[in-house]
Symmetry: D2
Amino acid sequence: VTIDLNADVGESFGRWRLGDDEGTLGVVTSANVACGFHAGDPATLVRTCRYAVDRGVAIGAQVGYRDLAGFGRRFIDVSPEDLAADVLYQLGALDGIARSVGGRVAYVKPHGALYNAVVHHEEQAAAVVGAVRAYAATPLPVVGLPGSVVLSRASSAGLPVVREGFADRAYAADGTLVPRSVPGAVLADPTVVADRAVRMVTAGTVTAISGESVAVEADSLCVHGDSPGAVGLAAAVRAALESAGVTVAAFAP
Amino acid sequence: VTIDLNADVGESFGRWRLGDDEGTLGVVTSANVACGFHAGDPATLVRTCRYAVDRGVAIGAQVGYRDLAGFGRRFIDVSPEDLAADVLYQLGALDGIARSVGGRVAYVKPHGALYNAVVHHEEQAAAVVGAVRAYAATPLPVVGLPGSVVLSRASSAGLPVVREGFADRAYAADGTLVPRSVPGAVLADPTVVADRAVRMVTAGTVTAISGESVAVEADSLCVHGDSPGAVGLAAAVRAALESAGVTVAAFAP
Amino acid sequence: VTIDLNADVGESFGRWRLGDDEGTLGVVTSANVACGFHAGDPATLVRTCRYAVDRGVAIGAQVGYRDLAGFGRRFIDVSPEDLAADVLYQLGALDGIARSVGGRVAYVKPHGALYNAVVHHEEQAAAVVGAVRAYAATPLPVVGLPGSVVLSRASSAGLPVVREGFADRAYAADGTLVPRSVPGAVLADPTVVADRAVRMVTAGTVTAISGESVAVEADSLCVHGDSPGAVGLAAAVRAALESAGVTVAAFAP
Amino acid sequence: VTIDLNADVGESFGRWRLGDDEGTLGVVTSANVACGFHAGDPATLVRTCRYAVDRGVAIGAQVGYRDLAGFGRRFIDVSPEDLAADVLYQLGALDGIARSVGGRVAYVKPHGALYNAVVHHEEQAAAVVGAVRAYAATPLPVVGLPGSVVLSRASSAGLPVVREGFADRAYAADGTLVPRSVPGAVLADPTVVADRAVRMVTAGTVTAISGESVAVEADSLCVHGDSPGAVGLAAAVRAALESAGVTVAAFAP
């Protein structure tokens, strides 16, 4: 059994530092690197890609809305034409930087409000997929929520799809994520989170907030690195997976 | 005898339109396309690259300072590390867009205040050259002022250099450009400008503002496209060159 | 009978020019001046406010989403707390500039997608009204669509409300505006538009796209100034109103 | 003997947090609040001004270059007309927010590279002073380096001037600051820094890096708050001053 661990990195901007990128890149196998529209000034991206290449971590383009003030967490009703161009621009910018340090963009994961929008929003999902298709000769995998519009459109367009699971988030009985605003939606106990990760990967199930066992098919687990504690949690997840005989490896070669 | 004609395009931004890109791309052989930092939203860049590819015009990355409000025309004392990363980011972004429509970035021309800075500024010139070197497996040519630091550093780094001439600008007796603030610094009469272009290309000389004949070695002539009149002037220059037996062709294949 | 004429001005940004502000300010009685978030660099705002003060035109703050690339025309799902702060910031910035040239912000009109959002969006409408209330000792009038949430909330909060009519837009039989995407939604014939303006102001009615006469109560008519033709249309509307004995004057002293 | 203590606050931006504003505002008497151009989103400014009003701390407008990516620390060769408009815009924006929570902008302190530029740069200094003069009916004090062009121009223009001293920075024998790049330029030992502050205020002298005693006339001492340790250092300075019988109070009522 093999699983990928992904986390967001490269989200500093100029004077402002965010997250422990070096710590995170010591744990994960895939790095969702910001592309400058929601976070990530170019010098930060150069440093982050260099760390990732040094550690053999796959580089993904974490494309987002053009919204530094909102960190890409606010839905923007951008037209499909503009969104596709924005995604192309971000993809190329990060890929150019990654290649300059010996790497390359190996996959795409929409960020924040765009990630949530393309679960349901047909036009924006199509724009993202169209941009990824147009970008590269070799189709790039797209990471998203299982059952999302973006993954079904990506699949139809011939792009590999990567279904994402969340070991530190509560699931509802129907397999969807419990909104963050609900008490208990986010789990912090490393032992609990690590156990859920192992069961999600080895048994394909998770215990819902209402107590039922729910099927979850995940090709990559999302962990967080925006605090030293988060890196510790991610490391606990990885250690538990490896102890259970799971191979932790990037989906993208 | 062969000469290239280059002009700035892709300098609209969202609702704001600037220049007659379609008209300009019908005249020139090399298009300096904005890269988003001083002008050029991504959807504009997609459209502009598509025009350029359709007309067989070479695409250059017109990299600039991160300064939309100042249109890249204000010197910014950015550190070499940040500037190199900014150039890499812009190069990759435009190249990704160009490739998505069947083209590619074929050369680099710094824009505005950065163009002027790298005539003399050693650190910023080195940063630009370093970024261009790091970007691509195949070295990209750099367009600049004859005698500038950026061209000498580019040459030392193994990059092809393209010396730029200005048929519509007055030259001083020492071969430098007369500042725009001096009366007579900018020429507008199509016949005069076209004649100067022909003489610059065929004889390698231009008449200075003080009357002397001055040597000017140019591999590319800069024309402008930011008004319908400017496109007419560019067309007059091209027609005069062709009538004089000069081949007008891009330096970058 | 008295009516106000308002138009958007100050929407240039740096190198990019938009609209004929001087022409427009020679016709209208109220100027919706951009505040920098969707358009309007500070130097443009200084010039625009100076024109408005010179011509005795009332200055309104045309507050919008923080979205230069989208010109404020894309809905952004910004939180009420952030939106209220964004509105306060824009109000203060424009008012400071207006006061430096002898004027002041005399009213508020949301711009573009924000204008449309606060027709229905309770939280964003409340945020805008809260910011206007918090800003000034003297309550500032709010311009909006008749029947909109923002006007009803403004009224409840003790702010004067200004109902806006559109002489160059088609109305549906229920009194709402026909979307721009529908053929015939925008009228361009100066005689037709001027006639509709006169009837709207003197009779309180307009002929709907389906032929019925519809009641429209307007305290201010919106005209446009983003092309020389638009200024001519605005002037035709003003001339027709004055010929019909209507006094054209600002609602805000 | 009375002295003011000032510090930079409000320098977070959206998701990115910087400094311990609440801790800092518990120690200083004057708060240099960012105005959005180098840092400080509007919601941060509302919160920061509310803290400052609650604690009775004077609010100053920390105006800077339009450069979020560079945090206002890079010289920009902006024209005097644009710079004056940028300063007016920032002043009005912060003042509007301050007034909405019961405060007001009581002084102006240029930030970062602008602070350094207006020590010598005549045109930019004049632009800053012109904007402050044009802004308010009551002249606002300007904080700057003793001997700087900006203070001399402010004084000539009838603005109160506030000379700033730095207890945690090394001085050269000629009374100028030792550049940060020189070893020993920044002092961190709370006892040493507090002693220097007391001597600077009570005796008007400081020991230069070369050993001599140098005269320093300061109306306000700058302390830092961008880390918990910095707040502790600021508190040590304040305690030492009060123990020495110095009254710590804002210069601006």
